[in-house]
Subunit: 153 residues, 2 copies
Amino acid sequence: MLRISRLTDYGTLVLAHLPAREAELMSAAEVAAATGINLPTVSKLLKSLTKAKLVASGRGAQGGYRLARDAARISAAEIIDALEGPVSITECSATDSHCDLESVCSVGNAWQRINVAIRRALQEINLTELQRARAPVPRFELAGTPIHVERKG
Amino acid sequence: MLRISRLTDYGTLVLAHLPAREAELMSAAEVAAATGINLPTVSKLLKSLTKAKLVASGRGAQGGYRLARDAARISAAEIIDALEGPVSITECSATDSHCDLESVCSVGNAWQRINVAIRRALQEINLTELQRARAPVPRFELAGTPIHVERKG
DNA sequence: ATAAAAGAGGACTATTTTAGTCCTATTTGA
DNA sequence: TCAAATAGGACTAAAATAGTCCTCTTTTAT
Ligand code: FES
Ligand code: FES
């Protein structure tokens, strides 16, 4: 069902291996070695992430990449946006930016509202939580009924 | 990003037009006319939905389809499962697949838990809510912070 | 009986999306 | 000046999705 692409999964792994802000740069080749992902793919991912301002880069010899900001301030939603683009059934439902056709729009259906709801939840999950093997378990509440998600294993 | 396929969207529309349980059957051709979706596609959708036990069918002349149970007892998660299959949020975290990056990957499990959380939320949304033009807006709570999603328009 | 109306179940093609690779230009440090 | 890197695309390959079509079975009406 609602699936993120494999590249987004890889991208998260790449981000998890990058040095933090202020630390030294790490080259794409080093990231590829650390993650086990092929270099061309890592390179492509890092370029996309840099373009999205999630990663900062230094060019030339001794160049490389590092996180553009603290892992705690990089959300799952941002990672998805950077690597999959704000694609959705309709352009306006993809982002939080409000379309001024909303009031007269007939295609703003329930699925799109659900999509927005999920999206907002994803904005509350940051890279630090994604990195941790035992991150706090997300808990969703819907229509007054708390839904608790158990920790695995 | 996390998008549902077009067929799933169509499928929801088809379900919304089907007669309720105990009412008379409606043929695929009638559903196609009512929804504006091409007949072969409607037919395919109805077959998938029937196989998933979300709709009941009658064969032969005067045959057709109706909801297998009350709309309030058909969840969004079931509709997605019927039309897209029970795929996971990431390929790696699917139970039947084994990713060769697993040994170095620190994030697969986090995406999987997010997936479970989203699934559970989707199980709480039913067809009646999807049908309503102005359905109650889903509200998600994550890690103690309530996230309210405003009604559109 | 027979014919017609419908669904069941696949097979098939076409389209679109996604993944992965590669090439060339540019930047930087030694 | 050379070598190490990223930037930015172009390109191909692979996979998922959408859509169509064919044949078989079931049911009802004549
Ligand atoms: S066109 Fe913007 S809400 Fe539908
Ligand atoms: S388990 Fe496959 S990339 Fe994480």
